[in-house]
């Protein structure tokens, strides 16, 4: 378990991180969401030891993270960068060797990973000749080639086409499935929503919301329900404590003022006709995001 506790960082008078505390659990994908300048990159850099914080600790399984631990971290910086004049395979092999792999081992890993990421045809090309999307894939290979226990990825999906997003998402899920702790930031809220198990929302340098995705959604649900029935649901308008948001014959979306009201509506709907579906409607991530950052 990677634990960030009370991370604080100021640049002069400006406080960019204030008591940032959250966990990144092994085997799970943790999405890190926030606007520009919210403090995502600063937080990640402190975790990687690339930047020093003013206060707070980063621990791995209870012990303060050392530079030896960090060698088992995979990192994808916000500002992408590889040597432009190195060949793709050679570059990834070099990074694997810096992380301690032998020559042959490093090469077979790099080759397999690059093929997984769809760069199998470009192994001998210089990084600078790759398209932006392919450079991005190479960058992801750089973060993954040493089989890290902890993955810290700053905007891994930016600049990728939808197909590449799928490829990268699959690779990340694969890593989490074998037990890695994965923290990634993204502006693409729909991708985060679909992928992540846990969520951390940051704004203005403070954590505004964190927890399992489904729990967060439930916590921010406003007792909004969706009813699909065979009959005319027009009667809903007259129910006490109900506010109809959307309506079309047997279809209705409404807010209830309490759980009892919702249950009463369900009983009446069943009495009126066949109910095809009755379900609480969870807010989308972007709704939660807008709500908590205010």
């Amino acid at each position: 378990m990677l634990r960030l506790q009370g991370l604080t960082k100021s640049y002069g008078e400006r406080r960019v991180l204030d008591d940032v505390t959250f966990d990144v659990a092994p085997g799970r994908l943790t999405g890190f969401v926030g606007g520009n300048g919210a403090g995502k990159t600063t937080t990640m850099r402190i975790v990687l030891g690339v930047l020093g914080g003013d206060a707070g600790t980063v621990t791995l399984d209870g012990a303060t993270v050392t530079s030896a631990d960090r060698r088992r971290f995979g990192y994808m910086p916000e500002e992408r960068g590889l040597y432009p004049k190195m060949k793709v395979l050679e570059h990834i092999v070099y990074l694997a060797r810096l992380h301690g792999f032998g020559k042959a081992d490093a090469e077979s890993r790099a080759r397999a990973l690059l093929e997984d990421l769809g760069l199998g045809e470009r192994l001998g090309d210089n990084i600078e000749t790759l398209s932006l999307g392919n450079q991005q894939r190479a960058q992801i290979a750089a973060a993954l080639v040493h089989d890290p226990d902890v993955l810290i990825l700053d905007e891994p999906f930016s600049g990728l086409d939808p197909l590449a997003v799928e490829v990268v998402a699959a690779v990340l899920q694969e890593r989490a499935a074998v037990g890695a702790s994965v923290l990634f930031s993204s502006h693409q809220l729909d991708v985060v929503e679909r992928l992540c198990d846990d969520l951390v929302i940051i704004a203005g340098g403070t954590i505004r919301a964190k927890g399992a995705r489904d729990e967060l959604r439930a916590a921010h649900a406003q007792r909004r329900y969706e009813l699909v029935s065979t009959g005319d649901a027009g009667w809903l308008r007259d129910e006490e404590g109900v506010e109809v948001r959307d309506f079309d014959g047997g279809y209705a979306v409404f807010d209830a003022d309490s759980d009892e009201t919702a249950q009463r509506v369900l009983r009446r709907a069943v009495a009126q006709g066949d109910v095809a579906s009755f379900a609480p409607q969870h807010p989308t991530l972007s709704q939660i995001f807008k709500e908590v950052i205010q």
């Binding site: 092994p26 399984d61 030896a68 070099y94 040493h146």
Partner: protein, 370 residues
């Protein structure tokens, strides 16, 4: 804590030596594949070859050194090779021939000299002549301040140019490669894998190996060139200074390379390199100009041969001119090595503090603090 899909690396990661060597290896590999590097080396190579050949031809007219010899000194030059003897009736006539420039030197009998004769020359004794005499005679100069010795000048240019070219070429190279890593941000990946100091050491070592390789090739050119043009006597005179030059160059280069890396780490863009490396470039240029203007001035050369930045040029030059005592290169080398160690400590600090500070140039005081 987790099951990894395949066996992980050794838990401790690579040893320091391994990571340093990996970085050095990459530096060397990437330079050897760079066209700019190969072309600039080819130019240096051809230049050195031309200098050796031209120097050889001007210094030694193949017919031999014209020398006026009085009758009482004939015995001393009878079996000396490479001299073109003109008989002189008297001591005075021999001196006149020297003054008139008809001969390069006169050899006259002199009972006060331990060798029994004295070499009289206009401003400096012909080096080849002295080298080919079996015993070092007394030398008398008629006009010590005038004229110049072509060979000394060539040697001065040779040491100066080689040091200037190699140091600025590789100093610039290492500066660029430090900034490239900062600018492309690959440095964030590198130092999340290995310690900052290993990165610095690897870069300096890689470039030093390349520079030394270049120097050794140039030395080989000098040796082969001098042998082929039939100047093996000159080679005997130049051999020791050249060997010392290589030793001095090694430490001088490490000193400069470390400082270049530190200076470059303070900026974030290639365009800004000049703002922090210019003082270092001056340090490289200075010995070149000083040795060319003052190669005949023992005081300036003496100082140069002890100042760490100019010692690689100054000391071999003094040895070539025969001005240095046997212990002088050793003392100067000790000073150079001590400076080198000090510079490595300071530079490593600057490098560590500046490497991740993107954007504006890092102030020297900030780079040195903490």
């Amino acid at each position: 804590m987790n099951a990894t899909p395949t066996a992980g690396p050794t838990t401790a990661g690579p040893t320091t030596a391994q990571s340093v060597w990996l970085v050095a290896e990459r530096e060397i590999g990437s330079k050897l594949r760079s066209k700019a590097f190969i072309i600039s080396f080819a130019i240096l190579f051809v230049g050195a070859l031309a200098l050796v050949l031209w120097g050889g031809l001007t210094a030694q007219n193949t017919s031999g050194t014209p020398v006026a010899v009085t009758s009482d000194a004939q015995q001393y030059v009878a079996d000396v090779p490479g001299v073109d003897v003109t008989d002189a009736a008297s001591d005075a006539e021999a001196r006149e021939l020297v003054s008139a420039g008809e001969v390069d030197a006169a050899i006259v009998g002199d009972s006060a000299s331990p060798t029994g004769f004295t070499v009289v020359a206009e401003s400096s004794p012909p080096t080849n002549l002295l080298l080919s005499l079996s015993q070092l005679p007394t030398v008398e100069l008629l006009d010590p301040d005038a004229g110049s010795d072509a060979l000394g000048f060539v040697a001065a240019i040779g040491f100066g140019v080689v040091f200037l070219m190699a140091a600025s070429l590789f100093g610039g190279t290492i500066a660029q490669s430090v900034v490239e890593e900062k600018q492309t941000r690959v440095v964030e990946l590198l130092i999340s894998a290995i310690p900052v100091r290993s990165l610095l050491a690897g870069k300096v070592i890689g470039n030093t190996i390349l520079a030394m390789g270049e120097i050794l090739i140039l030395v080989a050119i000098a040796v082969v060139g001098l042998t082929v043009t039939g100047q093996s006597e000159l080679l005997q005179g130049l051999g020791a200074p050249i060997a010392w030059f290589a030793v001095f160059f090694f430490f001088g280069f490490v000193l400069l390379a470390t400082l270049f890396a530190a200076a470059a780490s303070m900026v974030s863009r290639q365009e800004d390199i000049g703002s922090t490396t210019t003082p270092l470039t001056m340090l490289i240029m200075a010995p070149y100009f000083l040795v060319i203007f003052f190669y005949e001035n023992p005081v300036v050369l003496g100082i140069m041969s002890y100042v760490p930045f100019s010692a690689p040029v100054g000391m071999p030059m003094r040895m070539f001119l025969g001005e240095a005592q046997w212990w002088e290169p050793l003392l100067s080398l000790a000073i150079l090595i001590a400076t080198c160690l000090g510079a490595i400590i300071v530079a490593a600090k600057i490098y560590e503090n500046s490497l991740l500070r993107m954007g504006a140039r890092v102030k020297l005081s900030e780079a040195l603090s903490r």
